[in-house]
Symmetry: none
Subunit: 205 residues, 4 copies
């Protein structure tokens, strides 16, 4: 059963590098040391192969550190939120150059049905945990709408280093790489926590 797995891995690399359309079956099979017909034999279709590759990628995406949970240290919600942000930033900056990360980024820009599956299965739980952490960190002072906005804001600040990577690299000096993950995370965390303290104070718009 080695051949099938080889193809899967090769396909992940190829699709990450060139995308679904530009990535060719021949390239995948060559890289997997298999015959041209192997893809059709094992996966029936290029499309079906792609679907399986995405699942494979999703499964392997979390590899590394586990996501910090509120339940781990329910008494230090602020600290927990900081840990979560640090974990998320590290993960994003790390997977930037990874096959998995590039695959996901592509799916984002060019959604297929596979994205539905990914959203429900992989992203939703992560997002919900963040909601729990933020809620705890601000002492339950936010209504649902504000909470969601807060979460999206945090995710956005983290995500930009991943989705905007291509653009950031092409702008001025300030480069942000994996080695800056902790600095970035602490910056975001500080900002987030500070806003909770006085979240009822309005600024003029």
């Amino acid at each position: 059963m080695s051949t099938k797995e080889d193809i899967l891995n090769a396909a992940m690399a190829v699709f990450a590098e060139h995308g679904f359309h530009a990535g060719t079956v021949r390239d995948i099979c060559d890289q997997a040391g298999a015959n041209v017909a192997a893809v059709n034999y094992h996966f029936h279709d290029k499309t079906s192969l792609y679907a399986e590759v995405l699942q494979h990628a999703y499964r392997n995406a979390g590899i590394g550190e586990p996501m910090p949970l509120l339940a781990d240290e329910p008494d230090h919600p602020a600290k927990q939120l900081g840990a979560w942000i640090a974990w998320y930033v590290r993960r994003l900056l790390h997977s930037g150059g990874t096959d998995v990360g590039r695959l996901m980024a592509r799916e984002m820009a060019e959604p297929t049905e596979a994205l539905d599956y990914l959203a429900k299965g992989a992203v939703q739980p992560v997002f919900m945990e963040l909601g729990r952490l933020v809620d705890a960190a601000c002492g339950g002072s936010l209504d649902e709408r504000a909470l969601k906005l807060q979460c999206v804001a945090i995710v956005g600040q983290c995500l930009v280093f991943h989705t905007g990577r291509a653009m950031l690299e092409r702008l001025d000096p300030p480069h942000f790489g994996y080695e800056d993950a902790d600095e970035i995370a602490s910056h975001i965390t500080k900002w987030a926590l500070r806003s909770f303290d006085t979240s009822n104070v309005d600024a003029e718009t």
Copy 2:
């Protein structure tokens, strides 16, 4: 001179719909009511056509309001920053489902050389103006590194509604559309301004 423009528009639609590789020259020409050879005649290349489409898209992206400049109201930096954020969020949410938006999102996930040009020509100026506004709004209290991080954070919070659109739509109820632009913008602005007031206060990490 109509044919060239027709092709440009058709190409924008096709590339936005299918991407560069999956979008075919034949499809574009059919849609433009022109001959297959027209692309070659007017743009020399599929690649060159794509490059021109991106520029065209960028030019048409800002349609509507002009970007608020610090120079407009140098005495109310905070207000100016709010205006800028509101403008940026509106722009992003507006172009979300647009050909322009999808085109840009694709470029981000799968950068071509065209992105270099876009970065220098289109994004850099916008990003620099934001830097000026933030610097003024916080009274010059941030060093360069912190200033950049602040800018990226703001952009990230806005951008997530654009780049993350596909994912957000697939998550829980909370939907954010163009009609929510002002609410979102004011939320981001509040957060940003507040953090300046006490930006020397450290939170535990």
Copy 3:
């Protein structure tokens, strides 16, 4: 393994008929009863196919009699030279209307890199054997330069029936075909041998 050979033969015919540029892959494949993609599959390229066709042609050019060697009858050099010339003329006149011949003629007028290979591999040995024969036939009385000139002269007299064929056919009545090979050869031989006997006698220029 029949398809590849079929394509090779069809290609030889087509390239001989229309040349490299005017000869189309489609035509070749149709004539070979194969699919258009077959050329690419078996030869990768139109260019590579052409290269292989030339080699194939060269291999099949000598079909029939082997080249007479001086070593065959070292004691009758004059007779040997005659045999060689007869062999060469027959070969040229035979391949005149042949695909092989037309292919070679084209290569001569419009050399590609394939000609280099042909020159070293196929022509050089033949030319050197002629040198040996002439040297023996004239009793070694010629210096190297004169020997080379003599060889070129002989080859030229033979070759003109091949390279000049198209022109000769369009001139006056006198037609020279394969059936005249022996007459032509003996004429050339006589002339060559006679010049050796008195090769030190100068004529006024």
Copy 4:
């Protein structure tokens, strides 16, 4: 009427360089500083242009020395023949790298209808003059068939330096260029004249 002539010259260069099929109308027009449609406007056809180019080439081919005629010096036929051969060899070696020469060589290998015209108009007269010279030089001792063979042999010895140029350049050291024209011509002439003296003596075959 400059444009038409410009196109004619450009076409000669392009066709000589790339041949009829590979040479493009656009290339010709660019090189002539004219519009793409100019060829069709002035010559109706690419094919017709080619025909006119050949005539143009033929007209300009003889530029330089005039062909020596028997009538010039009817009393020294041998000397005349030598002069003719020298003239012919010089001409061939000179036109080797010329557009005209390359054009003719191509026509030879890949005859079009244009060759018919060329044969009758340009080559026939030259060939007939040679016939007259040889007939005179050998004192009328040859019957028509032998005379023709003799002429072809002489032409062949000269022509090989032109048509075989590509091959000769790829063989051993002995290089023959324009500077060797006189040496070559005298070699051929000597050989030709000598064969007449004893043209009734047979050598064994």
